[in-house]
């Protein structure tokens, strides 16, 4: 089971990254839940979503201590960093977040995902981040993530190839970091 919180400004694709993870989990025949923040939280403040995937049935869709926190702006780091499970992982989009975590008991990755994705597709940062996550997850295959991307962009088939390229680049990037 993985419990993931993704947080950033509205419009950064925070909610859709969560959906990509959930769709990938379905392709992998796992159970999943996706719970967004909604309402005034979305306007001006931070948008976030809680994503869980598991071999078991998912009980609570709310997450008190995420295994993985993905942060797209500084307020989100302040808000959630203390909730991350000891031994968990914090990933920041270092194109936007210039702070480091104060936690000593978590794995910390600074990834300039906007810059990296822009080399392939300016709007591919989310899918690039999905790629970054796959080696960390270890239990969702590249093939399933590709199916998820194809599914989400079903109505815009033109953008599928460049997004798959972003996905693959993200996977390679993270594999190198983990070596």
């Amino acid at each position: 089971m993985n419990k993931i919180i993704i947080s950033g400004f509205g419009g950064q694709g925070v909610l859709s990254l969560g959906k990509f993870i959930s769709y990938s989990a379905i392709e992998q025949n796992l159970n999943t839940s996706w719970l967004p923040s909604y309402g005034p939280e979305m306007r001006g403040g931070t948008a976030n979503c809680s994503v869980i995937y598991s071999h078991e049935d998912i009980a609570a869709p709310v997450i008190d201590h995420p295994d993985i926190l993905i942060v797209f702006n500084e307020p989100s780091l302040d808000k959630f960093e203390n909730s991350v499970k000891a031994g968990g992982t914090i990933i920041i989009n270092s194109d936007i977040v210039h702070k480091k975590t104060t936690r000593k008991d978590v794995k910390f990755f600074e990834i300039p995902v906007d810059t990296l994705a822009a080399e392939i597709n300016k709007r591919g940062a989310n899918v690039y981040m999905l790629g970054v996550l796959l080696p960390l997850f270890g239990d969702i295959s590249e093939e399933c993530a590709i199916h998820a991307v194809e599914h989400v962009f079903e109505s815009k088939p033109k953008v599928i190839p460049s997004n798959i390229e972003c996905l693959k680049a993200g996977i390679e990037y993270m594999k190198k970091l983990l070596k």
Binding site: Y23, I26, W34, L35, Y38, G39, A59, P61
Partner: protein, 354 residues
């Protein structure tokens, strides 16, 4: 094949599959995806969607469509459902089938838009005036929303009584994999429930049909109300639904419904890992209430106490106390205002009693 569905959209598609062809509503967060979905989907299946000028109009349009024999529904969230109560009472008194969805947000008043369970009293104890009840379901997953909605029109038609399905902002907004069952045949449903015998469809055998809720003679109204309550007895016998989770050896029994029941399940897993035997009774129907299941648990020697958990200041806890009837202590844990308890809060409560 299972697809990722948002709660609100899944319940809308399940209604269409169940034969719902008419939707009347007025926008309110956090249920807007239901009317949004219906606004285009119903036209694909030959139905109609109307955004009414108010909730009062919307429920009365449901009243009219139901009287004409159609499968009709409305959905709203707490303040909007308050506005519908007069119409719901009329529909119950006219013995018409319909489905009402309430994706609860926090009250009182306009309150907030985050998840809440503050409308339990309203849903189960009347809401509108007079001696009547809706049949009330409280699903806890997106798939259960689908399954309950898929059957809701049949239950409503079978008893000619309004059915209410209550969820909350969390269940409405979240996405989970779910499978929508195949489309029901609307004409067959009309025949199955003999609507040709009573519907005011305007072109029957020429005899007048009256659908009304006015019974001005006390004897007539008493006779009617007694018959209504006979119907509720039958509904209680046949339609009560409840889930028992890890209750075999439970010492601490949570009672919770909807999204909160899921949080209890997560807490139970954690408590059992720590050697504390906890279980859950999850009412799926809130009216009729599964009092017998709770009473049976209260009679077990192994059960030490009940803890009712709600996103309110304690409403269902009253029905739990009635069912337990003093046999065991009944405690209450709640959050309100749109805040949600975490599994760890419940673990702490059981371990430390606070």
């Amino acid at each position: 094949m299972k697809k990722l569905w948002k709660g609100n959209e899944a319940i809308a598609e399940a209604a269409v599959a169940a034969g719902c062809r008419y939707f009347f509503g007025y926008p309110i967060t956090p249920q807007n995806e239901i009317p949004e979905y219906m606004s285009w989907r119903l036209y694909e299946v030959g139905g109609a969607f109307i955004q009414a000028e108010s909730e009062v109009s919307a429920i009365n349009m449901v009243y009219g469509a139901a009287a004409a024999g159609a499968r009709a529904m409305t959905s709203s969230s707490s303040p909007g459902v308050s506005l519908k109560q007069e119409g719901i009472s009329y529909i119950a008194a006219a013995e018409l089938p319909c489905v009402i969805v309430n994706m609860m947000r926090s009250g009182p008043g306009l309150g907030g838009i985050q998840a809440s369970q503050g409308d339990y009293f309203q849903a189960t104890k009347g809401g509108g005036h007079g001696d009547y009840h809706c049949i009330v379901y409280a699903p806890s997953t997106v798939q259960e929303f689908v399954d309950i909605m898929y059957n809701a029109f049949d239950v409503a038609d079978e008893y000619r009584n309004p059915v209410m399905i209550i969820g909350d902002g969390m269940l409405g907004q979240m996405m989970e994999p779910a499978e929508i069952p195949p489309m029901k045949d609307v004409t067959k449903m009309y025949e199955k429930y003999h609507k040709d015998e009573w519907a005011t469809c305007g072109h029957s055998d020429g005899k007048a049909r009256i659908i009304n809720s006015l019974r001005i003679e006390p004897d007539e109204n008493e006779e009617f109300t007694l018959r209504l309550y006979k119907k509720y007895e039958e509904i209680a016998k046949k339609e009560t639904k409840v889930e028992e989770y890890r209750m075999d050896d439970a010492e601490y029994v949570f009672v919770a419904y909807g999204s909160v029941a899921r949080i209890c399940k997560a807490a139970i897993v954690e408590l059992r890992e720590q050697g504390i035997k906890a279980g859950l009774i999850r009412p799926i129907t809130l009216y009729p209430y599964p009092s017998a299941t709770i009473e049976k648990a209260a009679r077990r020697d192994s059960v030490k106490k009940f803890v009712t958990v709600e996103m309110s200041m304690g409403q269902m806890v009253e029905d739990v106390r009635l069912a337990v009837n003093g046999l065991k202590p009944v405690e209450f844990y709640g959050r309100c205002g749109g805040n949600v308890m975490m599994p760890a809060d419940l673990v702490k409560y059981i371990k430390e009693g606070k």
